[in-house]
Protein backbone atom coordinates (compact mmCIF):
# COMPACT_ATOMS: atom_id res chain seq x y z
CA UNK A 1 0.00 0.00 0.00
CA UNK A 2 1.02 3.56 -0.60
CA UNK A 3 2.04 5.69 2.28
CA UNK A 4 -0.60 8.22 3.23
CA UNK A 5 -0.54 11.30 1.08
CA UNK A 6 -1.05 14.77 2.36
CA UNK A 7 -2.20 16.53 -0.77
CA UNK A 8 -3.98 19.40 0.95
CA UNK A 9 -1.04 20.60 2.86
CA UNK A 10 0.17 23.13 0.32
CA UNK A 11 2.49 23.37 -2.63
CA UNK A 12 3.84 19.88 -2.24
CA UNK A 13 0.49 18.35 -3.21
CA UNK A 14 1.29 18.27 -6.91
CA UNK A 15 4.62 16.61 -6.35
CA UNK A 16 3.10 14.03 -4.06
CA UNK A 17 0.41 13.26 -6.60
CA UNK A 18 3.08 12.64 -9.21
CA UNK A 19 4.86 10.33 -6.84
CA UNK A 20 1.66 8.45 -6.18
CA UNK A 21 0.92 7.94 -9.82
CA UNK A 22 4.45 6.77 -10.43
CA UNK A 23 4.00 4.28 -7.67
CA UNK A 24 0.72 3.06 -9.15
CA UNK A 25 2.31 2.74 -12.56
CA UNK A 26 5.01 0.67 -10.99
CA UNK A 27 2.60 -1.68 -9.26
CA UNK A 28 0.53 -2.01 -12.44
CA UNK A 29 3.64 -2.88 -14.30
CA UNK A 30 4.52 -5.45 -11.67
CA UNK A 31 1.05 -6.97 -11.91
CA UNK A 32 1.28 -7.18 -15.68
CA UNK A 33 4.75 -8.67 -15.44
CA UNK A 34 3.48 -11.33 -13.08
CA UNK A 35 0.84 -12.21 -15.66
CA UNK A 36 -2.06 -11.23 -13.42
CA UNK A 37 -5.38 -11.15 -15.25
CA UNK A 38 -7.67 -8.14 -14.73
CA UNK A 39 -9.07 -10.30 -11.96
CA UNK A 40 -12.25 -9.90 -9.98
CA UNK A 41 -13.58 -6.38 -9.38
CA UNK A 42 -12.17 -6.42 -5.91
CA UNK A 43 -8.61 -6.54 -7.16
CA UNK A 44 -9.02 -3.44 -9.31
CA UNK A 45 -10.89 -1.67 -6.56
CA UNK A 46 -8.08 -2.39 -4.17
CA UNK A 47 -5.66 -0.93 -6.65
CA UNK A 48 -7.60 2.31 -6.94
CA UNK A 49 -8.21 2.52 -3.25
CA UNK A 50 -4.51 2.44 -2.68
CA UNK A 51 -4.67 6.14 -3.57
CA UNK A 52 -8.34 7.00 -3.34
CA UNK A 53 -8.72 5.38 0.02
CA UNK A 54 -6.90 8.37 1.41
CA UNK A 55 -9.32 10.78 3.01
CA UNK A 56 -7.17 13.75 2.16
CA UNK A 57 -6.89 13.08 -1.58
CA UNK A 58 -8.43 15.99 -3.44
CA UNK A 59 -8.41 17.64 -6.81
CA UNK A 60 -7.95 21.28 -7.56
CA UNK A 61 -6.32 23.96 -5.58
CA UNK A 62 -6.69 23.63 -1.83
CA UNK A 63 -9.55 25.63 -0.39
CA UNK A 64 -13.27 25.77 -0.98
CA UNK A 65 -12.88 24.95 -4.68
CA UNK A 66 -11.14 21.68 -4.08
CA UNK A 67 -12.97 18.44 -4.61
CA UNK A 68 -12.30 15.37 -2.53
CA UNK A 69 -11.18 12.30 -4.44
CA UNK A 70 -11.57 10.05 -1.44
CA UNK A 71 -13.63 6.87 -1.85
CA UNK A 72 -14.81 4.96 1.19
CA UNK A 73 -13.95 1.39 0.23
CA UNK A 74 -16.25 -0.18 2.77
CA UNK A 75 -19.22 2.00 1.76
CA UNK A 76 -18.63 1.15 -1.88
CA UNK A 77 -18.45 -2.55 -1.04
CA UNK A 78 -21.81 -2.21 0.73
CA UNK A 79 -23.41 -0.28 -2.14
CA UNK A 80 -25.57 -1.86 -4.85
CA UNK A 81 -22.64 -1.69 -7.20
CA UNK A 82 -19.95 -2.92 -4.81
CA UNK A 83 -20.06 -6.53 -5.84
CA UNK A 84 -20.38 -6.33 -9.59
CA UNK A 85 -18.76 -3.18 -10.86
CA UNK A 86 -15.13 -2.38 -11.11
CA UNK A 87 -14.00 1.22 -10.85
CA UNK A 88 -13.23 1.53 -14.54
CA UNK A 89 -16.76 0.50 -15.49
CA UNK A 90 -17.82 3.96 -14.40
CA UNK A 91 -14.46 5.68 -14.79
CA UNK A 92 -13.33 4.42 -18.19
CA UNK A 93 -9.75 5.22 -19.11
CA UNK A 94 -8.76 5.64 -15.48
CA UNK A 95 -6.86 2.38 -15.46
CA UNK A 96 -4.14 4.40 -17.07
CA UNK A 97 -1.85 5.98 -14.54
CA UNK A 98 -1.17 8.80 -14.50
CA UNK A 99 -4.83 9.43 -15.35
CA UNK A 100 -5.40 11.05 -18.73
CA UNK A 101 -6.69 14.62 -18.71
CA UNK A 102 -10.49 14.90 -18.36
CA UNK A 103 -12.48 16.43 -21.23
CA UNK A 104 -14.61 18.89 -19.24
CA UNK A 105 -13.65 22.53 -18.96
CA UNK A 106 -15.99 23.65 -16.17
CA UNK A 107 -17.44 22.18 -13.02
CA UNK A 108 -20.94 22.28 -14.59
CA UNK A 109 -19.65 20.30 -17.54
CA UNK A 110 -18.04 17.79 -15.23
CA UNK A 111 -21.31 17.32 -13.36
CA UNK A 112 -23.33 17.00 -16.56
CA UNK A 113 -20.76 14.55 -17.91
CA UNK A 114 -20.88 12.38 -14.82
CA UNK A 115 -24.19 11.00 -16.12
CA UNK A 116 -22.32 9.29 -18.93
CA UNK A 117 -21.03 6.80 -16.38
CA UNK A 118 -24.58 5.60 -15.63
CA UNK A 119 -25.76 5.58 -19.24
CA UNK A 120 -24.53 2.12 -20.24
CA UNK A 121 -26.62 0.30 -17.65
CA UNK A 122 -29.41 2.78 -16.81
CA UNK A 123 -30.15 4.05 -20.28
CA UNK A 124 -33.86 4.75 -19.83
CA UNK A 125 -33.36 6.83 -16.71
CA UNK A 126 -30.40 8.54 -18.36
CA UNK A 127 -32.57 9.45 -21.32
CA UNK A 128 -35.40 10.72 -19.13
CA UNK A 129 -33.07 12.92 -17.14
CA UNK A 130 -32.70 15.10 -20.24
CA UNK A 131 -36.40 15.98 -19.94
CA UNK A 132 -35.92 17.03 -16.38
CA UNK A 133 -36.23 20.54 -15.06
CA UNK A 134 -32.86 19.89 -13.44
CA UNK A 135 -31.34 19.41 -16.87
CA UNK A 136 -32.50 22.90 -17.84
CA UNK A 137 -30.77 24.34 -14.80
CA UNK A 138 -27.67 22.28 -15.53
CA UNK A 139 -27.65 23.45 -19.14
CA UNK A 140 -27.60 27.04 -17.93
CA UNK A 141 -24.28 26.20 -16.29
CA UNK A 142 -25.63 26.19 -12.76
CA UNK A 143 -23.28 23.98 -10.71
CA UNK A 144 -25.98 23.41 -8.09
CA UNK A 145 -28.22 21.46 -10.47
CA UNK A 146 -28.23 17.80 -9.51
CA UNK A 147 -26.92 15.04 -11.68
CA UNK A 148 -27.44 11.29 -11.07
CA UNK A 149 -24.93 11.03 -8.27
CA UNK A 150 -26.31 13.97 -6.32
CA UNK A 151 -29.52 12.07 -5.59
CA UNK A 152 -28.29 8.49 -5.77
CA UNK A 153 -24.83 8.90 -4.35
CA UNK A 154 -21.80 7.85 -6.29
CA UNK A 155 -19.93 5.17 -4.41
CA UNK A 156 -22.59 4.72 -1.79
CA UNK A 157 -25.58 4.03 -4.05
CA UNK A 158 -28.34 2.11 -2.29
CA UNK A 159 -31.73 1.08 -3.71
CA UNK A 160 -33.69 4.28 -4.16
CA UNK A 161 -36.87 3.66 -2.20
CA UNK A 162 -35.53 1.81 0.83
CA UNK A 163 -37.15 3.18 2.83
CA UNK A 164 -39.53 5.36 0.78
CA UNK A 165 -38.95 8.29 3.07
CA UNK A 166 -35.35 8.32 1.81
CA UNK A 167 -36.65 9.82 -1.42
CA UNK A 168 -38.25 12.77 0.29
CA UNK A 169 -35.14 13.24 2.40
CA UNK A 170 -33.01 13.27 -0.74
CA UNK A 171 -35.02 16.10 -2.29
CA UNK A 172 -35.00 17.95 1.01
CA UNK A 173 -31.25 18.43 0.66
CA UNK A 174 -31.95 21.22 -1.83
CA UNK A 175 -35.70 21.91 -1.54
CA UNK A 176 -35.69 22.82 2.12
CA UNK A 177 -38.80 25.01 2.33
CA UNK A 178 -40.97 22.63 0.33
CA UNK A 179 -39.67 19.70 2.29
CA UNK A 180 -40.62 21.36 5.59
CA UNK A 181 -44.13 22.06 4.32
CA UNK A 182 -44.42 18.49 3.11
CA UNK A 183 -43.16 17.10 6.41
CA UNK A 184 -46.07 18.84 8.18
CA UNK A 185 -48.66 17.83 5.61
CA UNK A 186 -51.06 14.94 5.97
CA UNK A 187 -49.00 13.01 3.44
CA UNK A 188 -45.61 13.91 4.86
CA UNK A 189 -46.50 13.12 8.44
CA UNK A 190 -47.83 9.68 7.52
CA UNK A 191 -44.66 8.98 5.57
CA UNK A 192 -42.10 10.26 8.01
CA UNK A 193 -43.77 9.05 11.18
CA UNK A 194 -45.03 5.65 10.11
CA UNK A 195 -43.46 4.94 6.70
CA UNK A 196 -47.03 4.75 5.34
CA UNK A 197 -46.89 3.10 1.94
CA UNK A 198 -50.05 4.78 0.62
CA UNK A 199 -48.99 8.40 0.76
CA UNK A 200 -47.02 9.99 -2.05
CA UNK A 201 -43.35 10.80 -1.76
CA UNK A 202 -41.92 13.58 -3.95
CA UNK A 203 -41.30 11.37 -6.95
CA UNK A 204 -44.83 9.93 -7.00
CA UNK A 205 -46.10 13.31 -8.15
CA UNK A 206 -43.00 14.87 -9.67
CA UNK A 207 -41.54 11.69 -11.23
CA UNK A 208 -38.04 10.49 -10.61
CA UNK A 209 -36.07 11.32 -13.72
CA UNK A 210 -38.21 13.26 -16.21
CA UNK A 211 -39.07 15.79 -13.52
CA UNK A 212 -41.23 18.41 -15.20
CA UNK A 213 -41.32 22.06 -14.29
CA UNK A 214 -44.32 22.14 -11.97
CA UNK A 215 -45.03 25.80 -12.69
CA UNK A 216 -45.96 25.44 -16.35
CA UNK A 217 -49.54 25.25 -17.50
CA UNK A 218 -49.61 21.82 -19.07
CA UNK A 219 -48.16 20.26 -15.94
CA UNK A 220 -50.59 22.09 -13.66
CA UNK A 221 -53.52 20.94 -15.77
CA UNK A 222 -52.48 17.36 -15.10
CA UNK A 223 -52.82 17.72 -11.34
CA UNK A 224 -56.43 16.41 -11.17
CA UNK A 225 -55.25 13.30 -12.98
CA UNK A 226 -52.28 13.07 -10.64
CA UNK A 227 -54.37 13.28 -7.47
CA UNK A 228 -56.94 10.86 -8.91
CA UNK A 229 -54.20 8.27 -9.22
CA UNK A 230 -54.70 7.65 -5.49
CA UNK A 231 -57.90 9.52 -4.60
CA UNK A 232 -60.01 7.60 -7.12
CA UNK A 233 -58.55 4.26 -6.03
CA UNK A 234 -61.20 2.52 -3.88
CA UNK A 235 -58.79 0.11 -2.18
CA UNK A 236 -56.47 2.85 -1.03
CA UNK A 237 -59.18 5.35 -0.04
CA UNK A 238 -61.23 2.81 1.90
CA UNK A 239 -58.36 2.42 4.33
CA UNK A 240 -58.86 6.03 5.41
CA UNK A 241 -62.61 6.37 4.93
CA UNK A 242 -62.11 8.85 2.09
CA UNK A 243 -64.51 9.31 -0.82
CA UNK A 244 -63.38 8.24 -4.28
CA UNK A 245 -65.98 10.54 -5.88
CA UNK A 246 -63.74 13.59 -5.45
CA UNK A 247 -62.26 13.34 -8.89
CA UNK A 248 -65.46 12.70 -10.79
CA UNK A 249 -67.41 15.38 -8.90
CA UNK A 250 -64.62 17.84 -9.59
CA UNK A 251 -64.62 17.02 -13.29
CA UNK A 252 -68.40 17.37 -13.49
CA UNK A 253 -68.19 20.88 -12.08
CA UNK A 254 -67.35 24.07 -13.94
CA UNK A 255 -63.73 24.11 -12.72
CA UNK A 256 -63.11 20.50 -13.71
CA UNK A 257 -64.73 21.01 -17.08
CA UNK A 258 -62.53 24.03 -17.67
CA UNK A 259 -59.44 22.08 -16.72
CA UNK A 260 -60.26 19.12 -18.94
CA UNK A 261 -61.03 21.29 -21.98
CA UNK A 262 -58.01 23.56 -21.58
CA UNK A 263 -54.90 22.84 -23.54
CA UNK A 264 -51.87 23.59 -21.47
CA UNK A 265 -49.01 25.58 -22.85
CA UNK A 266 -45.46 24.95 -21.80
CA UNK A 267 -45.38 28.30 -20.09
CA UNK A 268 -45.84 29.45 -16.57
CA UNK A 269 -49.46 30.16 -15.83
CA UNK A 270 -50.32 31.63 -12.48
CA UNK A 271 -54.01 30.69 -12.60
CA UNK A 272 -56.03 28.72 -15.13
CA UNK A 273 -59.02 27.48 -13.16
CA UNK A 274 -59.32 26.03 -9.70
CA UNK A 275 -57.32 22.79 -9.74
CA UNK A 276 -57.13 20.41 -6.75
CA UNK A 277 -54.07 22.20 -5.44
CA UNK A 278 -55.62 25.68 -5.63
CA UNK A 279 -58.13 24.83 -2.92
CA UNK A 280 -56.39 22.04 -0.98
CA UNK A 281 -52.84 23.31 -1.14
CA UNK A 282 -49.85 21.52 -2.58
CA UNK A 283 -47.07 20.41 -0.27
CA UNK A 284 -48.80 21.73 2.84
CA UNK A 285 -51.99 19.79 2.17
CA UNK A 286 -53.96 18.92 5.31
CA UNK A 287 -56.90 16.74 6.22
CA UNK A 288 -60.09 18.49 5.15
CA UNK A 289 -61.25 18.47 8.77
CA UNK A 290 -58.08 20.12 10.05
CA UNK A 291 -58.88 23.56 11.53
CA UNK A 292 -56.24 25.04 9.24
CA UNK A 293 -57.58 23.39 6.10
CA UNK A 294 -58.38 25.94 3.40
CA UNK A 295 -61.41 23.87 2.41
CA UNK A 296 -62.92 23.67 5.89
CA UNK A 297 -66.32 25.36 5.75
CA UNK A 298 -65.16 28.18 8.01
CA UNK A 299 -62.19 28.90 5.75
CA UNK A 300 -63.79 28.24 2.42
CA UNK A 301 -64.94 31.73 1.48
CA UNK A 302 -61.39 32.96 1.94
CA UNK A 303 -60.20 30.23 -0.39
CA UNK A 304 -62.84 31.13 -3.00
CA UNK A 305 -61.73 34.75 -2.82
CA UNK A 306 -58.29 33.74 -4.11
CA UNK A 307 -59.96 33.79 -7.54
CA UNK A 308 -63.48 35.12 -7.01
CA UNK A 309 -62.84 38.60 -5.76
CA UNK A 310 -65.61 39.93 -3.57
CA UNK A 311 -67.17 36.53 -2.90
CA UNK A 312 -69.69 36.71 -0.07
CA UNK A 313 -70.49 34.21 2.68
CA UNK A 314 -73.17 32.55 0.57
CA UNK A 315 -70.84 32.08 -2.39
CA UNK A 316 -69.15 28.81 -1.27
CA UNK A 317 -72.57 27.13 -1.37
CA UNK A 318 -72.24 27.33 -5.15
CA UNK A 319 -69.73 24.53 -4.79
CA UNK A 320 -71.16 21.19 -3.70
CA UNK A 321 -68.03 20.13 -1.79
CA UNK A 322 -67.50 17.05 -3.95
CA UNK A 323 -70.98 15.73 -3.09
CA UNK A 324 -73.21 14.30 -5.76
CA UNK A 325 -76.42 16.33 -5.59
CA UNK A 326 -79.16 14.48 -3.69
CA UNK A 327 -82.30 15.34 -1.72
CA UNK A 328 -80.09 15.53 1.39
CA UNK A 329 -77.20 17.43 -0.17
CA UNK A 330 -78.16 20.23 -2.55
CA UNK A 331 -81.88 19.43 -2.96
CA UNK A 332 -82.42 22.33 -5.36
CA UNK A 333 -79.75 21.08 -7.76
CA UNK A 334 -81.01 17.54 -7.43
CA UNK A 335 -84.59 18.69 -7.98
CA UNK A 336 -83.72 20.47 -11.21
CA UNK A 337 -81.86 17.36 -12.34
CA UNK A 338 -84.81 15.09 -11.58
CA UNK A 339 -87.22 17.51 -13.26
CA UNK A 340 -85.31 17.50 -16.53
CA UNK A 341 -84.74 13.78 -16.26
CA UNK A 342 -88.49 13.40 -16.56
CA UNK A 343 -89.36 16.44 -18.64
CA UNK A 344 -86.96 15.88 -21.56
CA UNK A 345 -88.09 12.30 -22.29
CA UNK A 346 -91.71 13.39 -21.87
CA UNK A 347 -91.45 16.27 -24.36
CA UNK A 348 -89.20 14.60 -26.90
CA UNK A 349 -91.04 11.29 -26.60
CA UNK A 350 -94.36 13.03 -27.11
CA UNK A 351 -93.12 14.88 -30.17
CA UNK A 352 -91.55 11.77 -31.64
CA UNK A 353 -94.78 9.86 -31.05
CA UNK A 354 -96.78 12.50 -32.86
CA UNK A 355 -94.37 12.38 -35.79
CA UNK A 356 -94.69 8.61 -35.99
CA UNK A 357 -98.48 8.80 -35.84
CA UNK A 358 -98.46 11.42 -38.57
CA UNK A 359 -96.30 9.27 -40.81
CA UNK A 360 -98.46 6.27 -40.09
CA UNK A 361 -101.56 8.21 -41.10
CA UNK A 362 -99.88 9.41 -44.30
CA UNK A 363 -99.07 5.81 -45.19
CA UNK A 364 -102.58 4.61 -44.34
CA UNK A 365 -104.12 7.39 -46.45
CA UNK A 366 -102.24 6.15 -49.48
Amino acid sequence: MVPPLKPRTGGTAGALAVLATLFLAATNFAEAALGAAPGPPQAETDDCLSCHGDQGLAAGKPGPGSRSLFVDGQAFADSVHGRDLRCTDCHPGMAEVPHPPRPHRTEAERRAGSREACKACHFENYRQSFDSVHQRVLARGDVHAPSCVDCHGSHTTVPAAQPRSAISRTCAACHRGISDAYANSVHGRALLETENADVPVCTDCHRGHAIADPRVENWLLRTPELCSGCHADPARMSRYGLSTAVSQTYLADFHGMTASLSRGKGEEAPRITALCIDCHGVHDITKVKDPASPVLKANLVKTCRKCHEGATESFPAAWLSHYEPSWQKAPLVHGVKVFYGLFIPFVIGGLALQILLHLWRVVVNR
Binding site: L251, D253, F254, M257, T258, S260, L261, S262, R263, H308, E309, G310, A311, T312, S314, F315, P316, A317, A318, W319, L320, P325, A330, L332, V333, G335, V336, K337, Y340, F343, I344, V347, I348, L351, A352, Q354, I355, L357, H358, L359, W360, R361, V362, V364
Partner: protein, 260 residues
Protein backbone atom coordinates in the same frame (compact mmCIF):
# COMPACT_ATOMS: atom_id res chain seq x y z
CA UNK B 1 -96.97 36.48 -32.49
CA UNK B 2 -97.79 38.60 -35.44
CA UNK B 3 -95.77 41.52 -36.57
CA UNK B 4 -97.40 44.70 -37.81
CA UNK B 5 -100.12 44.01 -40.35
CA UNK B 6 -99.10 40.43 -40.53
CA UNK B 7 -102.53 38.92 -40.93
CA UNK B 8 -102.25 37.25 -44.28
CA UNK B 9 -102.52 39.54 -47.22
CA UNK B 10 -102.70 38.48 -50.79
CA UNK B 11 -99.46 38.98 -52.62
CA UNK B 12 -98.94 40.82 -55.83
CA UNK B 13 -97.59 37.78 -57.62
CA UNK B 14 -99.60 36.37 -60.44
CA UNK B 15 -99.38 32.96 -58.83
CA UNK B 16 -101.59 34.20 -56.04
CA UNK B 17 -99.10 33.64 -53.18
CA UNK B 18 -99.85 35.10 -49.81
CA UNK B 19 -97.40 37.07 -47.72
CA UNK B 20 -97.11 35.08 -44.54
CA UNK B 21 -94.10 36.65 -42.81
CA UNK B 22 -92.95 40.26 -42.72
CA UNK B 23 -89.31 41.09 -43.48
CA UNK B 24 -88.72 41.64 -39.79
CA UNK B 25 -90.08 38.20 -38.91
CA UNK B 26 -87.91 36.62 -41.57
CA UNK B 27 -84.88 38.46 -40.21
CA UNK B 28 -85.74 37.38 -36.67
CA UNK B 29 -85.89 33.76 -37.81
CA UNK B 30 -82.58 33.99 -39.65
CA UNK B 31 -80.93 35.56 -36.61
CA UNK B 32 -82.32 33.13 -34.08
CA UNK B 33 -81.35 30.25 -36.34
CA UNK B 34 -77.75 31.45 -36.68
CA UNK B 35 -77.42 32.22 -32.99
CA UNK B 36 -78.89 28.83 -32.13
CA UNK B 37 -76.21 27.11 -34.20
CA UNK B 38 -73.42 29.15 -32.61
CA UNK B 39 -74.79 28.52 -29.12
CA UNK B 40 -75.12 24.78 -29.75
CA UNK B 41 -71.66 24.45 -31.30
CA UNK B 42 -70.02 26.37 -28.44
CA UNK B 43 -72.26 24.98 -25.70
CA UNK B 44 -72.30 21.24 -26.27
CA UNK B 45 -68.54 20.72 -26.07
CA UNK B 46 -68.81 22.22 -22.59
CA UNK B 47 -71.75 19.99 -21.64
CA UNK B 48 -70.14 16.85 -23.05
CA UNK B 49 -66.57 17.73 -22.09
CA UNK B 50 -65.73 14.09 -21.41
CA UNK B 51 -66.28 13.09 -25.01
CA UNK B 52 -63.39 13.02 -27.42
CA UNK B 53 -65.19 15.16 -29.98
CA UNK B 54 -65.67 17.95 -27.44
CA UNK B 55 -61.93 18.57 -27.26
CA UNK B 56 -61.79 18.41 -31.05
CA UNK B 57 -64.44 21.12 -31.45
CA UNK B 58 -62.78 23.31 -28.82
CA UNK B 59 -59.42 22.98 -30.57
CA UNK B 60 -61.01 23.70 -33.93
CA UNK B 61 -62.53 26.92 -32.61
CA UNK B 62 -59.23 28.01 -31.11
CA UNK B 63 -59.43 27.02 -27.47
CA UNK B 64 -61.81 27.16 -24.55
CA UNK B 65 -61.37 30.88 -23.95
CA UNK B 66 -62.62 31.68 -27.43
CA UNK B 67 -65.41 29.09 -27.26
CA UNK B 68 -66.67 30.75 -24.09
CA UNK B 69 -66.38 34.21 -25.59
CA UNK B 70 -68.40 33.14 -28.63
CA UNK B 71 -70.98 31.42 -26.45
CA UNK B 72 -71.45 34.47 -24.24
CA UNK B 73 -71.52 36.89 -27.15
CA UNK B 74 -74.12 34.78 -28.97
CA UNK B 75 -76.11 34.43 -25.75
CA UNK B 76 -76.06 38.18 -25.28
CA UNK B 77 -77.29 38.74 -28.83
CA UNK B 78 -79.97 36.11 -28.34
CA UNK B 79 -81.17 37.90 -25.21
CA UNK B 80 -81.17 41.18 -27.10
CA UNK B 81 -83.16 39.64 -29.95
CA UNK B 82 -85.72 38.16 -27.56
CA UNK B 83 -86.07 41.45 -25.69
CA UNK B 84 -86.50 43.38 -28.94
CA UNK B 85 -89.06 40.87 -30.14
CA UNK B 86 -91.14 41.20 -26.99
CA UNK B 87 -90.80 45.00 -26.90
CA UNK B 88 -91.89 45.39 -30.54
CA UNK B 89 -94.73 42.99 -29.95
CA UNK B 90 -96.03 44.98 -27.00
CA UNK B 91 -95.77 48.16 -29.04
CA UNK B 92 -97.58 46.66 -32.04
CA UNK B 93 -100.33 45.09 -30.01
CA UNK B 94 -100.81 48.29 -28.00
CA UNK B 95 -101.09 50.35 -31.16
CA UNK B 96 -103.48 47.83 -32.73
CA UNK B 97 -101.14 46.93 -35.57
CA UNK B 98 -100.92 43.26 -34.61
CA UNK B 99 -103.30 40.75 -33.16
CA UNK B 100 -102.35 38.12 -30.61
CA UNK B 101 -102.47 35.29 -33.11
CA UNK B 102 -99.85 33.26 -31.20
CA UNK B 103 -101.71 33.14 -27.88
CA UNK B 104 -102.88 29.60 -27.13
CA UNK B 105 -106.65 29.24 -26.96
CA UNK B 106 -109.09 26.54 -25.97
CA UNK B 107 -109.39 25.74 -29.68
CA UNK B 108 -105.69 24.78 -29.81
CA UNK B 109 -106.25 22.04 -27.26
CA UNK B 110 -109.33 20.87 -29.16
CA UNK B 111 -107.29 20.93 -32.39
CA UNK B 112 -104.58 18.81 -30.80
CA UNK B 113 -107.13 16.23 -29.73
CA UNK B 114 -108.85 16.31 -33.13
CA UNK B 115 -105.50 15.84 -34.87
CA UNK B 116 -104.48 12.96 -32.65
CA UNK B 117 -107.86 11.27 -33.21
CA UNK B 118 -107.33 11.73 -36.92
CA UNK B 119 -103.79 10.31 -36.79
CA UNK B 120 -105.00 7.35 -34.77
CA UNK B 121 -107.75 6.71 -37.27
CA UNK B 122 -110.49 7.20 -34.68
CA UNK B 123 -112.06 9.98 -36.73
CA UNK B 124 -111.73 11.36 -40.25
CA UNK B 125 -112.38 14.91 -39.11
CA UNK B 126 -109.31 17.12 -39.55
CA UNK B 127 -108.68 20.23 -37.50
CA UNK B 128 -108.86 23.49 -39.44
CA UNK B 129 -106.20 25.96 -38.38
CA UNK B 130 -105.98 29.71 -38.23
CA UNK B 131 -102.80 31.69 -38.78
CA UNK B 132 -100.77 29.43 -36.46
CA UNK B 133 -101.63 25.85 -35.63
CA UNK B 134 -101.13 24.39 -32.16
CA UNK B 135 -97.81 22.83 -33.12
CA UNK B 136 -96.41 26.16 -34.27
CA UNK B 137 -97.67 27.84 -31.09
CA UNK B 138 -96.04 25.10 -29.03
CA UNK B 139 -92.74 25.68 -30.75
CA UNK B 140 -92.96 29.45 -30.49
CA UNK B 141 -93.70 29.39 -26.77
CA UNK B 142 -91.13 26.70 -26.25
CA UNK B 143 -88.50 28.89 -27.84
CA UNK B 144 -89.57 32.03 -26.02
CA UNK B 145 -89.93 30.48 -22.55
CA UNK B 146 -86.92 28.23 -23.05
CA UNK B 147 -85.04 31.34 -24.13
CA UNK B 148 -86.00 33.08 -20.90
CA UNK B 149 -84.70 30.10 -18.89
CA UNK B 150 -81.47 30.04 -20.91
CA UNK B 151 -80.85 33.77 -20.59
CA UNK B 152 -81.65 33.81 -16.86
CA UNK B 153 -79.53 30.76 -15.99
CA UNK B 154 -76.80 31.93 -18.35
CA UNK B 155 -76.56 35.24 -16.51
CA UNK B 156 -76.42 33.39 -13.18
CA UNK B 157 -73.49 31.36 -14.46
CA UNK B 158 -71.75 34.38 -15.93
CA UNK B 159 -71.93 36.45 -12.74
CA UNK B 160 -71.81 33.91 -9.90
CA UNK B 161 -70.23 36.23 -7.34
CA UNK B 162 -72.75 39.02 -7.93
CA UNK B 163 -75.66 36.58 -7.86
CA UNK B 164 -74.51 34.91 -4.64
CA UNK B 165 -74.25 38.29 -2.94
CA UNK B 166 -78.04 38.51 -2.76
CA UNK B 167 -79.28 34.97 -3.56
CA UNK B 168 -78.39 31.54 -2.16
CA UNK B 169 -75.19 30.13 -3.63
CA UNK B 170 -76.85 26.81 -4.44
CA UNK B 171 -78.73 28.57 -7.24
CA UNK B 172 -75.54 28.58 -9.30
CA UNK B 173 -75.03 24.81 -9.63
CA UNK B 174 -78.82 24.50 -10.06
CA UNK B 175 -78.60 27.06 -12.88
CA UNK B 176 -75.82 25.01 -14.44
CA UNK B 177 -77.96 21.87 -14.44
CA UNK B 178 -80.94 23.81 -15.81
CA UNK B 179 -78.91 25.62 -18.49
CA UNK B 180 -77.30 22.41 -19.64
CA UNK B 181 -80.57 20.41 -19.73
CA UNK B 182 -82.75 23.15 -21.17
CA UNK B 183 -80.17 23.63 -23.91
CA UNK B 184 -80.18 19.93 -24.65
CA UNK B 185 -83.97 19.90 -24.79
CA UNK B 186 -84.08 22.90 -27.13
CA UNK B 187 -81.59 21.17 -29.38
CA UNK B 188 -83.59 17.95 -29.40
CA UNK B 189 -86.85 19.78 -30.11
CA UNK B 190 -85.22 21.50 -33.07
CA UNK B 191 -83.62 18.31 -34.34
CA UNK B 192 -86.68 16.13 -33.89
CA UNK B 193 -89.65 18.42 -34.23
CA UNK B 194 -88.62 21.47 -36.19
CA UNK B 195 -86.52 19.62 -38.73
CA UNK B 196 -89.41 17.20 -39.23
CA UNK B 197 -92.02 19.90 -39.69
CA UNK B 198 -89.89 22.17 -41.86
CA UNK B 199 -88.03 19.56 -43.90
CA UNK B 200 -88.87 15.90 -43.50
CA UNK B 201 -92.63 15.85 -43.10
CA UNK B 202 -94.33 14.64 -46.29
CA UNK B 203 -96.15 17.99 -46.37
CA UNK B 204 -92.98 20.08 -46.23
CA UNK B 205 -90.40 17.85 -47.87
CA UNK B 206 -87.77 18.81 -48.78
CA UNK B 207 -87.92 22.37 -47.52
CA UNK B 208 -90.66 24.70 -46.31
CA UNK B 209 -89.33 27.99 -47.67
CA UNK B 210 -92.00 30.33 -46.39
CA UNK B 211 -90.01 31.66 -43.41
CA UNK B 212 -87.22 32.63 -45.83
CA UNK B 213 -89.28 33.95 -48.75
CA UNK B 214 -92.07 35.24 -46.57
CA UNK B 215 -94.59 33.74 -48.97
CA UNK B 216 -96.97 30.81 -48.86
CA UNK B 217 -98.89 29.38 -51.79
CA UNK B 218 -102.66 29.56 -52.02
CA UNK B 219 -102.70 25.78 -52.09
CA UNK B 220 -100.91 25.52 -48.76
CA UNK B 221 -103.03 28.30 -47.26
CA UNK B 222 -106.14 26.37 -48.12
CA UNK B 223 -104.70 23.20 -46.68
CA UNK B 224 -102.79 24.42 -43.64
CA UNK B 225 -104.41 27.71 -42.59
CA UNK B 226 -107.99 27.61 -43.95
CA UNK B 227 -109.39 29.82 -41.20
CA UNK B 228 -106.79 32.47 -41.86
CA UNK B 229 -107.66 32.39 -45.55
CA UNK B 230 -111.29 32.90 -44.67
CA UNK B 231 -110.41 35.70 -42.30
CA UNK B 232 -108.34 37.49 -44.90
CA UNK B 233 -111.33 37.43 -47.23
CA UNK B 234 -113.66 38.76 -44.53
CA UNK B 235 -111.47 41.73 -43.84
CA UNK B 236 -111.56 42.84 -47.44
CA UNK B 237 -109.50 45.95 -46.90
CA UNK B 238 -106.48 43.81 -46.07
CA UNK B 239 -106.73 41.76 -49.22
CA UNK B 240 -105.19 44.51 -51.26
CA UNK B 241 -104.45 43.62 -54.83
CA UNK B 242 -106.17 40.26 -54.84
CA UNK B 243 -107.32 39.45 -58.34
CA UNK B 244 -111.06 39.53 -58.41
CA UNK B 245 -111.29 36.05 -59.84
CA UNK B 246 -109.51 34.65 -56.82
CA UNK B 247 -111.66 36.77 -54.59
CA UNK B 248 -114.64 35.09 -56.05
CA UNK B 249 -113.17 31.70 -55.44
CA UNK B 250 -112.51 32.53 -51.80
CA UNK B 251 -116.02 33.72 -51.25
CA UNK B 252 -117.41 30.55 -52.65
CA UNK B 253 -115.10 28.45 -50.44
CA UNK B 254 -116.00 30.47 -47.44
CA UNK B 255 -119.62 29.69 -48.04
CA UNK B 256 -118.86 25.99 -48.17
CA UNK B 257 -116.57 25.90 -45.19
CA UNK B 258 -118.13 24.85 -41.92
CA UNK B 259 -117.85 27.54 -39.31
CA UNK B 260 -114.53 27.07 -37.49
Amino acid sequence: MSAPGSTARAAETAGGDFVRFSPRQRLEHALVMSLFVVLAVTGFPQKFHNSGWAQGVVDLLGGLERVRFLHRAAGFLFALLAATHVAMLIRDVASGRARLSMVPTRKDFQDAITTLRYYLGVSDLQARFDRFDYRQKFEYWGLLLGGVVMVATGLLLYFPVAVASFLPGELIPAAKVAHSNEGLMAFLVVIVWHIYNAHLSPEAFPFDRSIFTGRISRERMKHEHPLELVGSQRSGEEAVGTPSAQDEEHRSREAQAPDG
